[in-house]
């Protein structure tokens, strides 16, 4: 083993570490990606210079074909389709691991007729198993996101049992493969089994959970690379693979938390089956879109104009101080923040004024309904805090409504509306509010003060 090549591999490993570290921060992410690609280049270069001249051509051809395909996909794909492309790439990586392990095994056992030692054998089996699962799992994820396979969770009874049996079968096959190296059937059977398992594990998962699945499969593909490293006795493969495997698990965990699921749930493959909001209200049910605090924070991060609409719920939650903090934070990010004060918001004339003054919100940010009502249409985001009747479009559209004829804030005209309240509970007038079911309306359930405090926390990290 050439020492210079090893040092190059070491350098590549370090660059991968630094690269991943930097990818975790907005300000350094791009540089991190560059450093990691530099590491990859070094690793490849150090490997290529070792190859015999005769195979160099083959290798170059393969690399050129691969690069062309990779670049083509990377630059042609629409940005909205990124997750599925990541899934696809990831699948290729997994398949590559499987293939390399199989090739090495084939070469040694079938073509050279050698015995391989147990450790290498086990590594090959792991490589094949994980690589295979990664490949078909990623492929299904890709197809689901692409709409080519139903995004819904496809479930059938005994699913978990079948998966378990298949896994046992895979282990059994591996054991046979290890006891009799001369017979390749078992390794091939393992490969096929792993492909089947990959499909079955991902099929029952709903489309909305796919990002988590992809992240997990990404972690798997790292582990596959690591196992390949053991097969080839290659450090850089081990380091890079272990890095991706471990950091991928953490990332998956973080993503789970952001989606309100547990990692155990994910690891068992049983996620994606419980769906939607848990808030059952009586009366004609309004289908609402719920949003989490993190996502809400990202929406806040992306807008340039914001109108906050406080209502009685703000007073009940005593959320005025939290709101001030939120508005200050938004202003620091150059978001134009105003407050729309409905004349009868709250339970006494001037209720909102008292509380917002207490929280030291400057008077010139408070805009009367009549003045601001035309501005909603040009506003990116409206944040409704514990208001209900005063933003109920029924007052304009439904002559049977008890509030018909009362002037209301035209919040629904804005690009996006986020409403924070504890539940689908009604307001003073005791009527349903169709705003909450509107296409551009997202519900952020919870006590206004607590929710906004969390929102502020999230926003600070962006």
């Amino acid at each position: 083993m050439n020492i210079l090549i090893q040092i190059a591999y070491l350098a590549a490993s370090i660059l991968f570490i630094i690269g991943i570290k930097m990818l975790g921060r907005t300000s350094t992410a791009r540089k991190g990606n560059f450093l990691s690609s530099l590491g990859m280049f070094i690793a490849i270069f150090a490997t290529v210079i070792q190859v015999e001249a005769i195979t160099l051509v083959d290798i170059l051809i393969c690399v050129i074909i691969g690069s062309a395909l990779g670049l083509f996909i990377a630059f042609k794909v629409q940005m909205t389709k990124v997750p599925e492309m990541v899934a696809l790439f990831n699948g290729f990586g997994g398949l590559a691991s499987l293939t390399v392990a199989l090739a090495d095994f084939w070469l040694n056992t079938q073509e050279k007729g050698l015995q391989v030692d147990q450790i290498t054998g086990i590594s090959v089996a792991i490589s094949i198993l994980i690589g295979g699962v990664t490949f078909t799992g990623s492929l299904i994820a890709y197809l689901k996101l692409n709409g080519k396979v139903s995004g819904k969770a496809i479930t059938f009874t005994g699913q978990h049992l079948i998966n378990l049996l298949l896994l046992i079968a895979a282990v059994g096959v591996s054991v046979f493969a290890l006891t009799d190296f001369s017979n390749p059937t078992f390794m091939i059977a393992l490969a096929i089994l792993s492909l089947v398992i990959g499909v079955l594990v991902v099929i029952p998962i709903g489309g909305a959970d796919m990002p988590v699945v992809i992240s997990l499969l990404n972690s798997y593909s790292g582990m596959a690379a690591c196992a390949t490293g053991f097969v080839l006795n290659n450090n850089v493969l081990i380091v890079a693979g272990a890095l991706v495997g471990a950091s991928g698990i953490i990332l998956t965990q973080i993503m789970c938390k952001a989606m309100n699921r547990s990692l155990i749930n994910v690891l068992l493959g049983g996620f994606g089956q419980t769906s939607g909001s848990g808030n059952q209200a009586d009366g004609p049910e309004i289908a609402v879109k719920e949003v989490g605090v993190e996502e809400a924070a990202q929406i806040f991060d992306s807008v340039s104009s914001l109108i906050i609409v406080p209502g009685y719920g703000m007073a009940v939650a005593q959320a005025q101080h939290a709101i001030r903090e939120l508005s200050e934070l938004c202003e620091k990010r150059n978001i134009n923040v105003r407050f729309a004060i409905h004349p009868v918001a709250g339970r006494m004339p001037g209720h909102m004024n008292v509380l917002l003054a207490e929280a030291n919100i400057s008077y010139d940010k408070l805009i009367e309904m009549d003045e601001i009502n035309d501005d909603f249409a040009n506003t990116d985001l409206v944040f409704v805090v514990g208001a209900n009747d005063v933003v109920n479009p029924a007052a304009k559209t439904n002559p049977d409504s008890p509030i018909f004829g009362m002037p209301v804030l035209n919040v629904e005209k804005a690009q996006t509306v986020i409403v924070t309240k504890r539940s689908m509970g009604k307001g003073y007038a005791g009527i349903e509010n169709e705003l909450f079911g509107a296409d551009n309306c997202l519900m952020l359930f919870g006590d206004a003060k607590q929710t906004i405090t969390k929102l502020v926390g999230e926003l600070k990290e962006l």
């Binding site: 991968f16 790439f89 293939t99 090739a103 950091s247």
Partner: protein, 95 residues
């Protein structure tokens, strides 16, 4: 593989995994996808294995073909992965 070299590789595995765990702690949600994509590109390191496989194997043999397929796949993963990540990250240029 000897037990000794295995143990050493195990050291490396353990330490690298630990580093992986420590590396990521607070990632803003906006970076979840790029990070995933970027580390996916790194997992394309199998390309090194694929090259080595291609090199030692004999022409015409199944192993050779497998190696070459692996190489193409790994290259797609690596090149596409990095390019895609970079494209994504370009859009984050803040305000």
């Amino acid at each position: 593989m000897t037990a000794e070299s295995f143990i050493i590789l195990l050291y490396i595995l353990v330490l690298a995994s630990y580093v992986g765990f420590e590396l990521i702690n607070k990632v803003p949600p906006t970076l979840h996808t790029p990070l995933m994509s970027g580390s996916n590109a790194i997992s394309g390191i199998t390309i090194v294995g694929a090259i080595i496989a291609c090199n030692v194997l004999n022409y015409g043999a199944i192993s050779k073909w497998l190696g070459m397929i692996a190489l193409i796949l790994a290259t797609i993963n690596v090149v596409g992965g990095y390019a895609l990540t970079d494209r994504m990250l370009k859009m984050f240029k803040k305000k």
